[in-house]
């Protein structure tokens, strides 16, 4: 199927390139990450048949006044550790031709898009997670005025190196007056019946059409922004929900206020049975049509990111509050250079559920009933963190963080109970000279749960404009006493970036939707090359 697609779109590209010969600009990129793996019994890093593993992507796009075209070559035949089996392969899974005129834009081939916040439709590429859920088909975008945008699309979804059997179609209309924005979306999945038996003499009558809609309104006035969004999905019995016939729902309210030196964000979201895939019996990380963002802060520091939260597709109440304030220069708290304080709080809780059954079985029933406002008994996640950014002198800048975290490992990974941790982070940046900056991180995670305490240290020397050298070590103080050391040297030259490194990466378990997947430990020499043109 994919080969046919490649040939068809390849011919279209050839045609397009001929049409555009006169005024065409070319952009592209190359990204190649390579691991030369080594066995390490200490951390459980295993042997591989291959001497080298790589995820390599090369992308090119041609743009002209009215016609664009592009394609991406992927070489994932010997992929880096931790991706699903079907991830393996190589070819040109992404290719498109796009015509854009005054009020209309037409796309044929593979494309990415999002309706609203993505509650009913979002296709995107996230290479680090192995996600590419693009649609192969057609899309039309019509803008009859500056205020109104209408979209319609249809296609089949990419599932690694094949296509989903179902058809995904959708439409989105958005009106924006500047201050107010209203939008509505509709998505249909058409999927044939399959045999899911509930007992020796009965199988499920599965809906061949699953419809989802989304309505949203945004107020944007000066520093104030308020977004209210609601989405609903019709019966969609699936592997993810245990083949129940309950509708899916998600409601979100988000408000932010931002002005120079201060900002506030308040968010609440309730999702309920909103896992939406192009194949009902698919598990793992592929084939999602929609996206439910986690209402938690994304951390770049290692230990705060050690126990990351992912949205629980079954259902959750999620709340997040975030505030930042900069104390001005030459004030008691601002000091000579000013001080920024950031506060983030998030809390994720189970929704109320009253189990229902049909003939004594959950499959085929409505699954459960749920009161909208009521919580369930379990807390999934809670985090409170405070960050202080302070410039001490012209040469030294500090960033301090404290975090208090509750992570329900059983809910996210399938086992492990509640992990309560306190995390401290100190980061300092010191300018050794005009071209040399030394950055250091010291982090410590206190917990009596799971594998106990962790410590992390990093030293990074930047020699502008070309070089960066980094050394780090993640150490389990509490139980295993294992070191996960890493070192790397990075060279940047014009649009080229080359990195060579060596070290250990820790293993972990990932359980979702009733199944568990293992992300293996690895050790070895890493090479990374990026080029943009």
């Amino acid at each position: 199927m994919l080969n046919e697609r490649t040939i068809v779109v390849g011919l279209m590209l050839l045609f397009a390139s001929r049409v555009m010969l006169a005024q065409v600009s070319v952009n592209g990129s190359i990204q190649s990450d390579v691991l030369l793996p080594q066995k390490d019994d200490g951390i459980g890093a295993t042997d591989y048949e291959e001497w080298a593993l790589t995820n390599t992507y090369a992308e090119v796009s041609l743009m002209s006044q009215h016609l664009d075209a592009g394609l991406r070559f992927e070489y994932l035949q010997h992929p880096l550790p931790g991706f699903e089996n079907d991830f393996k392969g190589w070819g040109v899974p992404h290719a498109y031709v796009k015509g854009h005129f005054e009020k209309i834009e037409l796309t044929a081939g593979t494309f990415y898009d999002q309706f609203g916040s993505g509650f009913v439709f979002r296709t995107y590429e996230e290479r680090s997670l192995g996600i590419d859920n693009s649609l192969l088909g057609g899309r039309i975008v019509y803008k009859p005025s500056d205020k109104l945008t209408m979209k319609a699309l249809t296609g089949k979804q990419r599932q690694y190196w094949s296509l989903s059997d179902s058809w995904i179609s959708g439409a989105d209309v958005e009106y924006s007056s500047g201050v107010f924005t209203f939008g509505t979306s509709f998505v249909n999945k058409h999927e044939e019946q399959e045999d899911i038996m509930t007992d020796a003499t009965h199988k499920l009558n599965l809906p061949e059409n699953v419809n989802a809609f989304d309505v949203r309104a945004r107020l944007q006035k000066g520093p104030l922004s308020v977004l209210a969004e609601y989405a609903q999905k019709t019966q969609d019995p699936s592997f993810d929900n245990g083949y129940i016939y309950r509708h899916g729902y998600v409601a979100m309210l988000s408000a932010s206020y931002s002005k120079r030196g201060a900002s506030v964000l308040l968010q609440a979201k309730r999702s309920d049975n909103m896992s939406f895939r192009s194949e009902r019996s698919m598990s793992g990380t592929s084939s999602f049509i929609n996206h439910l963002p986690a209402f938690t802060m994304e951390h770049t520091y290692t230990l705060p990111a050690l126990y990351p939260y992912a949205t629980h597709s079954g259902g959750e109440w999620a709340y997040q509050a975030e505030g930042a304030y900069t104390f001005k220069k030459n004030t008691p708290l601002g000091g000579r250079y000013g001080t920024t304080v950031k506060l983030n709080f998030s809390h994720i809780h189970d929704i109320d559920q009253h189990p229902k059954s049909l003939n004594g079985l959950t499959a085929g029933s409505d699954g459960y009933g749920s009161s909208f406002w009521k919580w369930g008994s379990r807390m999934f996640y809670q985090e409170l963190n405070v960050q202080i950014e302070k410039k001490i002198s012209k040469l030294l800048k500090l960033n301090l963080m404290y975090m208090n975290k509750f992570y329900n490992k059983t809910v996210v990974e399938g086992e492990g109970g509640m992990i309560h941790s306190d995390i401290f982070v100190a980061e300092g940046k010191y300018s050794l000279s005009k071209k040399a900056i030394l950055r250091a991180e010291a982090q410590y995670l206190f917990t009596k749960d799971d594998q106990g305490d962790w410590a992390y240290g990093l030293l990074e020397l930047s020699l502008a404009p070309h070089w960066m050298i980094a050394l780090s070590d993640l150490y389990n103080v509490g139980e295993t006493h294992l070191h996960y050391y890493q070192g790397s040297v990075t060279l940047k030259a014009d649009s080229h970036r080359f990195q060579i490194g060596y070290g250990r990466t820790r293993a972990g378990y990932n359980c979702s939707g009733g199944i568990c997947r293992y992300i293996p430990a690895s050790k070895g020499l890493t090479l990374s090359y990026n080029y943009n043109f």
């Binding site: 459980g44 699903e84 089996n85 009859p144 005025s145 205020k147 109104l148 439409a171 209309v173 009106y175 209203f182 939008g183 509505t184 509709f186 399959e194 045999d195 899911i196 038996m197 509930t198 007992d199 020796a200 003499t201 009965h202 199988k203 499920l204 009558n205 809906p207 059409n209 419809n211 989802a212 809609f213 309505v215 609903q232 019709t234 019966q235 592997f239 083949y243 016939y245 019996s281 598990s283 793992g284 049909l358 085929g364 029933s365 409505d366 490992k409 059983t410 399938g414 086992e415 492990g416 109970g417 293993a507 378990y509 359980c511 009733g514 199944i515 568990c516 997947r517 293992y518 293996p520």
Partner: protein, 259 residues
């Protein structure tokens, strides 16, 4: 104003379309003719003691055995992969190196998952029932009969194959054990230290992939095998599972309790 009206009309339209696709509770189950059992089915259940969802697979196997008979749905729990554990001085683990070999060969990436007559690759739990229903009704190219005898600590096994149609493939014999009490992580995240593990894969009696066979219709082939049980195995709980397979999957399977 016209544009706002278009938006409102769009919202009403999607609500109406979405509202008319419900399947009523009384119409959700479709009757299926009971399977006319023509042969037994083998389920190779890839499982692990650290896999919280794996007890769900055991429940599914028990449900299928209750529906079709234990002699017709023969399960082997292959403790394998990183969610399983090897035995240590402190913990009884059920993982075997041979189980890991099968785990790697079949590209298992999640547990619980399994092979049903080795048709269509590794299947998730929800797909087992329909495949079992279908496989039970396939005709078998032979009948397999097992006889076991235990003498002087050794187990002697005799396999008799009454062949109905030509078959070229492999005959595999495995040893399984029931009633092993060992820890198991449960779906609620707790550890059940008194969990009873049944049909646990212990060893391959005639090599990792079995013996080549080339049988002709009308033949009655007799083959003899032997194995010496290892120390921790409980003889009273051991069984032999024999099955024949080729590129089209498992063609027949049978099981006998040693005592």
């Amino acid at each position: 104003m016209t544009e706002r009206l278009q938006i409102f009309q769009s919202m009403v339209a999607v609500l109406l379309i979405s509202a008319c696709s419900n399947i009523d509770e009384s119409e959700r189950l479709i009757y299926v003719e009971p399977a006319h059992v023509a042969r037994a089915v083998l389920i190779e259940d890839f499982t692990g003691q650290r896999c919280v969802n794996c007890p769900n697979a055991v429940a599914e196997i028990e449900r299928l055995q209750e529906a079709y008979g234990e002699e017709n749905v023969i399960a082997v729990g292959i403790h394998s992969g990183p969610l399983s554990i090897f035995s240590t001085a402190k913990v009884k683990g059920l993982r075997t190196e041979l189980g890991d070999t099968y785990y790697d060969y079949w590209n298992v990436e999640a547990e619980p998952s399994g092979l049903v007559d080795r048709r269509g690759g590794v299947m998730m739990l929800n797909q087992w029932a329909s495949l079992v229903h279908s496989e039970l009704q396939q005709s078998a190219p032979m009948q397999l009969l097992l006889q076991c005898e235990q003498q002087n600590g050794n187990i002697s096994i005799q396999v008799t194959a009454k062949v109905f149609s030509d078959f070229k493939g492999k005959l595999q014999l495995w040893l399984t054990e029931d009633g092993i009490v060992a820890p198991q992580m449960m779906p609620d995240g707790t550890v059940n230290t008194d969990y009873v593990h049944n049909h646990v894969f212990r060893a391959a009696i005639n090599g990792t992939w079995g013996d080549e066979v080339d049988w002709k219709a009308g033949e009655e082939n007799v083959m003899n095998f032997a194995i010496t049980p290892e120390g921790e195995w409980v003889d009273d709980s051991l069984s032999v599972v024999a099955f024949v397979y080729n590129d089209d999957g498992v063609q027949q399977v049978t099981k006998i309790r040693i005592k």
